[in-house]
């Protein structure tokens, strides 16, 4: 059996599945039950400074979108940081950490952009015995209007400044949580790195309006006829998160900077993908909020089976394995030629591949009178759209043409050597260099 134990910036946990800073980790009752269910660690829901806590709306704070069969795909929230008194949270954190010393206990923090505010709260957190802190520079709603959360995360200079304050004031590992509501994720990550962050975690939620009430003409969730944008998360954001994680992981300036992957992790496979792209662990929220804490059991058994099947002894062997294969478009091999293949035994003759290809792509699928669908190699550009719209797994696959085989579309034999845009004769830069 593979070892799922992880060591993330010196914080050990029995598995790489942490609950993200969010409603599931807002109080002792929840966190104890999460640990009993098997979660490897938690990032406690964001604490604010001492004094009267923030307040939340008293109407709906979540909105959602669904796929077929009402499967929840995306969740939007307008909840703020913890609305419970600081001292209550600190007391509970201490109690839970004492009873679960083998689990990771990281505390999320968000206080005003003033050095004194950060210096005031850090010793209090240290005193709980927590393993580390996560700086919440990500929340895109409510708190950002008050100059905190993503308002900080969108200004790299602020990130660097606050991170430095924190590193100067505590022995605890410091994870900086990034907002995706920026243009280039590497900039805030670089700032955190420069400020001395031990790790970055991403992504926080994405600015969103999930739907509009067409009777009230107001965004949902609607509070007394009005709505405000919220933060979007869940399976729908995973591709965005994967890309942002990959951008940091492959950046030479940040090589080796630990990453905690967040964004739509729902199954073991999602977690493995984040880890292959460089995440040392993952944080989960929406999946737990949709299905309950028990889902971690599937994540544990699935990741364990996968590592065993791959002959990997531990999660550390998985982390970053896909990073060398993240490249730029210009480096992709143009001599890699594939054609779609339709397995007639699996095909149920729905015709979706035909509609997609005929109407919107390259007219590369033929349809017979008796509804047999076949690929026209002389038209197929291998775009993969048919694979993506086919409702049957593995019914349509892409088959690579061997070297020397004539590509019926171009009439040219498949070349053996790698050839990409950087050396392509149509590339103006290549033409210029040749002159």
């Amino acid at each position: 059996m593979a070892d799922l134990t992880t060591n993330f910036v010196g914080i050990k946990s029995p598995n790489p599945f942490w609950l993200a800073s969010a409603p599931p980790t807002d109080k002792e009752y929840n966190v104890r039950r999460a640990f009993e269910a098997g979660w490897g660690g938690v990032v406690w829901k964001t604490l604010g400074e001492a004094g009267p806590p923030v307040v939340n709306v008293n109407g709906p704070r979540y909105g959602a979108i669904w796929g077929a069969d009402r499967r929840l795909l995306g969740l939007n929230n307008i909840e703020l940081i913890t609305d419970r008194p600081l001292e209550v949270n600190l007391r509970e954190i201490k109690a839970v950490k004492r009873d679960y010393p083998d689990r990771a206990m990281v505390v999320s923090l968000m206080v005003p952009c003033e050095e004194e505010a950060w210096k005031a709260i850090l010793p209090l957190v240290e005193e709980t015995g927590a393993d580390g802190v996560e700086l919440n520079f990500g929340c895109p709603h409510g708190m950002s209007e008050r100059g905190m959360g993503s308002a900080v995360g969108q200004v790299p200079e602020y990130i660097e400044m606050v991170t430095r304050w924190v590193k100067q004031s505590t022995r605890m590992p410091c994870i900086v949580k990034l907002t995706p509501n920026i243009t280039d994720i590497r900039k805030p990550a670089m700032a955190a790195h420069a400020g001395g962050a031990d790790a970055v975690s991403l992504i926080n939620t994405i600015n969103s309006i999930t739907s509009v009430d067409l009777d009230l003409f107001a965004p949902e969730p609607t509070i007394d006829g009005k709505g405000a944008h919220g933060g979007y998360c869940g399976p729908a954001v995973k591709p965005i998160a994967l890309n942002m994680v990959a951008e940091i992981a492959r950046s030479p300036e940040m090589r080796g900077l630990p990453i905690s992957g967040i964004g739509g992790v729902t199954t073991w496979k999602d977690a493995a993908e984040f880890m292959a792209l460089g995440a040392g662990n993952v944080q989960v929220c929406t999946a737990a909020m949709t299905y309950g804490f028990k889902i971690v059991q599937e994540m544990i058994s699935g990741l364990s089976q996968y590592l065993d099947e791959k002959g990997l002894d531990s999660t550390a062997d998985l982390v970053g394995r896909a990073v060398p294969n993240i490249s730029d478009w210009q480096n992709l091999n143009l001599n890699y030629v594939t054609k779609a293949r339709i397995d007639q035994d699996l095909c149920i003759s729905c015709g979706r591949c035909f509609a997609a290809c005929e109407d919107t792509s390259h007219q590369a699928i033929a349809m017979s009178e008796d509804r047999v669908f076949t690929v026209k190699d002389d038209e197929c550009v291998a775009c993969n759209l048919c694979v993506n719209v086919c409702p049957v797994e593995a019914c349509i696959t892409m088959e690579r043409l061997d070297v020397g085989v004539i590509d019926a579309r171009t009439g040219q034999p498949v070349a053996a050597e790698h050839g990409d845009w950087t050396s392509h004769p149509n590339n103006p830069a290549v033409a210029q260099a040749a002159e």
């Binding site: 889902i295 059991q297 599937e298 058994s301 699935g302 089976q305 797994e393």
Partner: protein, 441 residues
């Protein structure tokens, strides 16, 4: 219709080989990968799921279905088998329509439950096809335990004891292990010799020795076992069959349904197995349905189940009743047998309609019959057994009998339904109790 079908009497070869094979195929075909993913997608992963509560072995159904959905049917199988080592057979024979699938919230929502039974089979078949046995034995305890009966209860008990490091000897009266899985259920529920393959797979745990043709009371006694072993588990099922008291019940052609089903299961050539043209099955349980449907599949022209009470009292589920009807079996209720007619061999059987309190109404009818199967219940046989509760061995808690050091479970023990899955649960739980008792000592 050809002459073979119309031929009177109990004769073999009423159908040709193709028709026989077509009839006895898997009742529920295995799910393909695509079907399994679509079916798994329908599970809502309910909290404290009603399906788990409805399962006598408490399999974590939402978890195993999620494991299928995420491409790890092997992990799903382990989730199943951890609770129910015969999860493969239970996936085939469980009346899921009255257990997990009846409780499924999608049954309430849409009248169409998640196909839990077929998904369970998908997972367990996947693992077994890989030849993987996902459990191993703890260090040897040096304790030896005798198990009587190699059916679902006995084997589940033996497996769990072996896992805990005990050495187990299983005594079984028959020449093959498996109990009713091997001899007692309809052939179309256990195709391709599944029962025997499952026993072989289960025994991979090691530490279990099976002694066939060893019947309690004939070849071995309870007191001898108690003397030789540290504990004894009784799981020999019900060896006897209730007698039909109607006059003429001794006539040729009046048979026990369980014997007919066993013969059918052990037959290597179904076309050599004789069956009547007009078959009457007396009873209202699963055994009655299994005997009736299989008679029909062997080519019997007219097959009738006659049950003394109303439909709602039949032990066979509505799903099983509908299966029988779909196969062309007629079901007559509220009628009790009063006489078997015939000169040596049965020719007709006479019934009298009864009211709901089983009181005779005076109205009788006769059914042509060249074969009559009695499926009116089985009884515990044997002497010098622990105290009984009614007609079964009395147990308290996890299978403890009135005799110190002797546990019992499965059909021979009181309480619980006479289902494979219940027997597995009782065998497993008794094993845990035996283990705890022996380790305390």
């Amino acid at each position: 219709m050809d002459a073979r079908a119309l031929k009177e009497g109990v004769v073999p070869g009423r159908l040709d080989a193709d028709a026989l094979n077509a009839g006895f195929v898997d009742l529920h075909a295995p799910l393909t990968d695509h079907e399994a993913l679509v079916a798994a997608d329908r599970c809502y992963f309910c909290h404290d799921a009603p399906c788990i509560t409805a399962c006598p072995t408490d399999i974590d159904i939402p978890l195993f279905i999620r494991q299928i959905a995420t491409g790890t049917p092997e992990a799903a199988a382990k989730t199943i088998l951890t609770q129910n080592i015969m999860g493969g057979m239970c996936a085939r024979v469980c009346p899921t329509e009255t257990l997990c699938e009846e409780a499924c919230v999608r049954e309430a929502a849409e009248g169409e439950p998640v196909q839990i039974g077929r998904l369970q089979r998908y997972a367990t078949d996947t693992l077994m096809a890989q030849g993987v046995h996902p459990f191993s034995r703890a260090a040897s305890t040096g304790k030896r335990i005798a198990v009587v009966g190699a059916g679902p209860a006995g084997l589940a008990c033996a497996h769990r004891l072996a896992m805990h490091g005990h050495d187990v000897v299983v005594f079984d009266a028959r020449s093959k292990a498996g109990g009713l899985n091997e001899y007692g259920i309809a052939a179309y529920k256990s195709t391709e010799d599944f029962a025997a393959r499952e026993v072989d797979w289960l025994l991979q745990i090691g530490g279990i020795q099976i002694r066939n043709n060893m019947a309690l009371g004939r070849d071995v006694t309870l007191s001898a076992l108690q003397g030789e072993y540290d504990a004894v588990f009784l799981g020999m099922g019900l060896g006897g069959v209730n007698a039909l008291t109607a006059p003429g019940a001794e006539k040729e052609g009046v048979l026990d349904a369980v014997g007919f089903i066993a013969d059918l299961r052990q037959a290597t050539d179904l076309s050599a197995l004789p069956v009547g043209r007009d078959v009457v099955v007396i009873g209202g349980g699963m055994t009655a349905v299994d005997a009736a449907v299989q008679s029909k599949l062997l080519g019997a022209l007219n097959v009738t189940i006659v049950y003394r009470r109303g439909r709602d009292r039949m032990n066979a589920s509505v799903w099983e009743q509908d299966l029988a009807a779909a196969k062309g079996v007629r079901i007559i209720t509220n009628a009790s047998p009063v006489a078997v007619h015939g000169n040596g061999a049965v020719r007709e059987i006479e019934f009298e309609f009864t009211d709901d309190e089983l009181a005779p109404t005076g109205q009788t009818f006769r059914l042509a019959a060249d074969q009559v199967f009695k499926a009116i219940g089985q009884t515990l046989s044997g002497e010098d057994l622990p105290n009984l509760d009614g007609r079964k061995i009395a147990v308290s808690g996890p299978g403890r009998t009135s005799v110190q050091g002797v546990w019992a479970g499965g059909d021979c023990a009181a309480g619980g339904e006479d289902l494979t899955v219940t027997a597995v649960a009782e065998g497993r739980d008794a094993a845990e109790d035996i283990h705890a008792a022996l380790m305390r000592a």
